[in-house]
Amino acid sequence: MSKNIIPVGPFHPLLEEAEYFTLKVDGEKVTGIDLDIGWMHRGHEFISETKTFTQSIYLVERICGICSTSHPLACVHAIEDIDNIDIPLRARYIRTLIGELERIHSHLLWIGLAGHFIGYDTLWMWAWKYREPVLQMFEIISGNRNHYGMMRVGGVAKDVDPSSIPKLYNILDDIAVKMDMIANAANDDPVLRSRLVGVGVLSYEEAVRFCAVGPTSRASGITADVRKDDPGDAYDLVEFNTIVMKNGDVYDKLVVRVLETLESIKIVRQCLDKLKNINGPILNDVKEISPGEGIGRYEAPRGEVFHYIRSDGTNRPVRHKVRAPSYVNIPTFEASCIGIPIADALITLAAVDPCYCCTERSIKVVDSARQPTKIDLLKISREKTDYLRRQINGN
């Protein structure tokens, strides 16, 4: 029986995002967990229905700062799926290049955070230091370190400057050396092994039951990877391996991400090789979208990003559904956190690389005739505090 409750949240001190987990503990052991989301009010799904298709792509780019090309890519896939729009070969390679660079920087970010979570700050600083050159590559390609603004229906917005390709190769070579070093360190490091092996195990059966996606599911032995299963862009033209482990613990999730980063470097190199030789247009002109519905998906660093768009023939979507990978991965805590010590719970909660601003994209404020002012927000905050106080006091 649970004797005590330990709250984690509503603002996570390490993840720096708003979520609230209630750990039910018996002594040192976690016996139950209650997941509570809904702390961010963003309204993306509703706003998207008020924007044109092109504006929607920019909107969904703002869903997440880390997956800021996965959402637009899944969104353009969904719009292109309505009319089976083809895109030029050069644009396919550019999309794949951007997507894989994002995977490298996202995985490096998580590796650093995981090190920070277990008190191994050396790993944190190294991983984030080596993430910086990836952001420089983004800046060279798109002009932005984040929110690249590259995706368009029918292709990409900006071309890769041929004169910048040698510089991109140089930076990529540096990243590859450092990633090999991190991969060897992850393999050999006794600190990581003793802290992560056997911690927070998500079994194959549970991963299937919870419909987990991405590295979370691949660490448990599920081979699903959208890049292989439903290849869009240039993924059927490049060679790479799907990394699958079988233990499902936090260490395997780390290994999957490290090895996936090496695969991504391989893909980026192949894309750069092709971009040197392939010339041609980068954008097919799409005049209008027919009535219909389309599903787009992309293997984001955290797993499958899913977008569903329905069009009525106008220039706006009538329904735009967004499902981020964390939305299906966060509920797996119910399986992976039970029975482990409290000290292991935090790294287990971080092991799926949760992203709460992705997960809670859909809330809409009803009957808001005007933008709330500071005074309104203060009033709402006081009302909420009173409401919570009444609930706690039971009247």
Binding site: I37, G38, E45, F46, D81, N84, V208, R209, F210, C211, V213, T223, A224, D229, D230, P231, E293, G294, I295, R297, E304, F306, Y308, R310, V318, R319, K321, R323, Y327, V328, P331, E360, S362, I363, K364, V365, V366, D367, E383, K384, Y387, L388
Partner: protein
């Protein structure tokens, strides 16, 4: 397209309004059959539930489940249309597909659809709203 043809031949009487596109397969099912269809897709042919989409139209409220068959990259999308807009109800597939728990709670929260048989039908996103359940994504012509 073996999976799709097998599926259609086995459930010929239960599905209608088929739309076949490249790797995408949309069809309508009745509320009474949705559990059986979900059971077949999830347990028999090994689909994974990606998510579900609710939408209000002038005919009713549509709930469209998206089952991904990862081996072939195909999507099976059963669509249930709830015509009673004042008191929308349908059968929950959560007892069969655990991964549907949150999305059905979200649809209950944002659209007011009651999922019969859901093990924990509580508000997911707006539960702390002092105004209570207000179904923010429904049409509001009357107000």
């Amino acid at each position: 397209m073996d999976n799709v043809e097998n599926f259609v031949s086995l459930h010929n009487t239960k599905i209608s309004k088929l739309i076949k596109k490249k790797k995408r397969f949309y069809f309508n099912v009745k509320n009474d059959d949705v559990i059986e269809i979900a059971d077949y897709l999830f347990n028999k042919i090994g689909c994974r539930l990606s998510t579900a989409t609710a939408q209000e139209t002038y005919n009713g409220i549509e709930v469209l489940y998206h089952f991904s068959h990862d081996e072939s990259g195909e999507y099976f999308c059963p669509r249930v249309i709830i015509t009673d807009k004042k008191n929308p109800e349908m059968n929950s597939i959560t007892p069969i597909v655990k991964g549907a728990e949150w999305i059905e709670r979200e649809m209950y929260d944002l659209w007011g659809i009651k999922f019969i048989g859901h093990p924990r039908l509580e508000l997911l996103l707006t539960k702390d709203n002092p105004a209570g359940i207000n179904q923010p994504l429904r049409f509001r012509r009357e107000s």
